[in-house]
């Protein structure tokens, strides 16, 4: 009986290394992903990744959906910062359809996107803390992520998978409570972030754990398709917001922080600095939004009746609004044919949408360029020769989101 059940692979008795399955449901992987580590003592000899545990075939589903029904799919890519995905998707559609958004919409979008970036970086950095044994930071910043989620809630009604905004703008104007909460965030957050940095940045234990863990050179990072904070930590100042500005980012002044070694510590620092820069952008955008006067002060969407749902009371009383409402909801609007690639700076890298339209009502092909799917390949190279405990911390500092990886 024992012979039947215990089947050792050929040569495994002589094997000097240990195979360890890290994941798919290990709490330290922070997502459903599996790593088959080959260990020599505590040193990692090789790592093989298995992904796809939450693959939901979004690219296939999107081929049968009208544009507005694809927005909820993008929520579920990087669910730590879904507003950025939503905006990226709307911007892609607007590029294809030739919709021009008013400045106020652009600024409101920037506020939301930068808030999302902060909440994403907060989670990532505090999880790096958790994985190196410092739980306090994580608990401490949670309430400010909560505040960000409350702001989303005021704007669109939901918190995690936001489905925020529409093609051409927002579904409704920001209300006063939303502005108050943004103001509250701007007032209180700097002190919190300073405290968070005090907890970690010069913390001896944290530095020992992260400096030199999972480093990558700029050249290798580029070859591996790194983008976002991970690439910038390796010393390349590539940021989509600067290189191909979208949503009026060109109106704002901000710096791109870069690191040198590309290790966990640099990635941590780059993310922290980016939060400061995001804060700066939000402040500016908030200021600019307040400055709109007269009719401009209430604009929250572009005038595109073909793609933007009319107000509900008009649907009940006006013929034209009813027609547009019906056509949009039934997905009976034909798009112009064409191919468009549009990228936004997601919280963990360049989030691209490659959209092929054949003139029909749904995308002929929609491909998401998901940043962490591409850079997770480098994991083996990052961890080879490192200790097992480094494997965990490298994984969390790369900001891997299973939902985005598996699409």
């Amino acid at each position: 009986m024992s012979e039947q059940h215990i089947k050792l692979p050929e040569g495994s008795i002589e094997k000097t290394t240990t195979t360890l399955n890290l994941g798919p449901t290990h709490p330290a992987t922070h997502g459903v992903m599996q790593n088959i580590l080959e260990l020599d003592g505590e040193r990692i000899v090789s790592a093989e990744q298995t992904i796809g545990y939450i693959h939901r075939a979004f690219e296939k589903i999107a081929e049968r959906r009208p544009l507005y029904q694809i927005t909820p799919l993008t929520d579920r890519l990087n669910y730590c910062s879904s507003p950025i995905n939503n905006m990226g998707w709307h911007l892609t559609c607007e590029k294809l359809l030739g919709v021009k958004t008013p400045k106020r919409v652009d600024y409101l979008r920037i506020i939301i996107m930068e808030l999302a970036r902060i909440s994403d970086h907060l989670i990532c950095n505090s999880i790096v803390g958790v994985d190196s044994g410092a739980y306090t930071g994580f608990l401490y910043v949670m309430q400010y992520r909560e505040l960000i989620y409350e702001i989303y809630e005021e704007i669109c009604g939901s918190r995690l998978t936001t489905n925020i905004g529409r093609i051409g703008g927002f579904e409704r104007n920001f209300n006063d409570i939303a502005f108050q909460k943004i103001q509250k965030f701007l007032d209180e957050y700097p002190a919190v972030l300073t405290e968070f940095e005090n907890l970690f940045t010069r913390n001896r234990i944290f530095m020992d754990r992260t400096i030199g863990a999972g480093p990558i050179s700029a050249e290798r990072a580029l070859n591996y398709g790194f983008t976002g904070p991970n690439l910038r930590a390796a010393g390349v100042d590539y940021d989509v917001r600067i290189h191909s500005p979208y949503s009026s980012y060109e109106d704002f002044e901000f710096d791109i922080p870069v690191g040198t070694t590309g290790d966990c510590y640099d990635r941590f620092l780059v993310r922290n600095q980016e939060m400061w820069q995001s804060l700066r952008i939000i402040k500016d955008a908030f200021q600019k939004v307040q400055e709109f006067k007269g009719a401009d002060a209430d604009v929250y969407h572009a005038d595109v009746p073909e793609y933007y749902l009319p107000p509900k009371q008009d649907v009940y009383t006006k013929m034209e609004a009813l027609i547009w409402h019906f056509k949009i909801i039934m997905g009976e609007i034909n798009m112009p044919a064409g191919e468009v690639y549009n990228a936004v700076e997601g919280a963990n890298g360049e989030l691209g949408f490659y959209f092929i339209s054949d003139g029909g009502r749904t995308p002929y092909r929609l491909h998401f360029r998901r940043p962490c799917f591409i850079y997770y390949q480098a994991y083996e190279e990052l961890t080879k020769g490192a200790m097992l405990s480094d494997a965990i911390i490298v994984m969390s500092s790369l900001n891997l989101i299973a939902g985005e990886m598996d699409a």
């Binding site: 049968r64 009208p66 591996y224 191919e339 690639y341 360049e350 598996d406």
Partner: protein, 196 residues
């Protein structure tokens, strides 16, 4: 900073003559195609050339153009020159019955998983790939789900046959103009079997 789409086009034509074709500029991005045998040569040229320096592979994905004779499957490369900040799109086409294309993993480490994903979805065989197996779907899957012959919904369903909305028996959105929704009766059976 001076690199323009026009210049890139000239350089490519100088080097590959009439083998690179289909130049077009859609939404500001230069797009072109080449025979599939040349894909590595073109990528190498774009990478090594002192002026062009397209050294960042942004994206690699497959597309199924249903009904294009001998050019049904495409692999699309999005390349980025980070110094001059310019992007291009490069396509190679292959026939459905022999979808072999040389791998770009030698040039870009990032192509590894993206090619695996493309294989997983479209069954494009990347010749020379170090580890070409499915990545998102289960290994046991015996079809390539993003090909257009696999409809998203079961076409035989009658409860969703909403004639009254003017869609004349086709199901779901977008099926009027394209023919991905219509499936030949004989194939329908096979599709079902494949999925089960």
């Amino acid at each position: 900073m001076s690199l323009t789409n026009e210049h890139i086009k000239q350089r490519l034509i100088e080097k590959f003559n009439d083998q690179v074709l289909g130049f077009e500029e859609s939404y500001g991005m230069l797009s072109f195609e080449a025979p599939k045998e040349l894909n590595l040569k073109v990528l190498n040229f774009l990478y090594d050339d002192e002026e062009l320096k397209f050294r960042f592979l942004t994206d690699l994905c497959g597309v199924h153009y249903q009904g294009q004779q001998d050019k049904e499957l495409a692999v699309v490369y999005h390349l980025h020159n980070l110094e001059d900040n310019i992007r291009i799109r490069f396509k190679v086409f292959t026939a459905m019955d022999k979808p072999d294309i040389y791998t770009a993993t030698g040039l870009f480490s990032s192509a590894n998983w993206m090619e695996r994903e493309t294989y997983d979805f479209y069954g494009i065989n990347f010749v020379g790939h170090p580890n070409l197996k499915r990545i998102l779907n289960v290994d046991e899957m015996d079809y390539f789900p993003l090909r257009k012959q696999y409809p998203l919904e079961d076409q035989s369903r009658v409860d969703k046959d909403d004639e009254m909305f003017g869609r004349g028996g086709t199901i779901g959105f977008g099926t009027e103009k394209t023919d991905h929704g219509t499936i030949i009766e004989a194939e329908k059976k096979n599709v079902g079997e494949d999925i089960i």
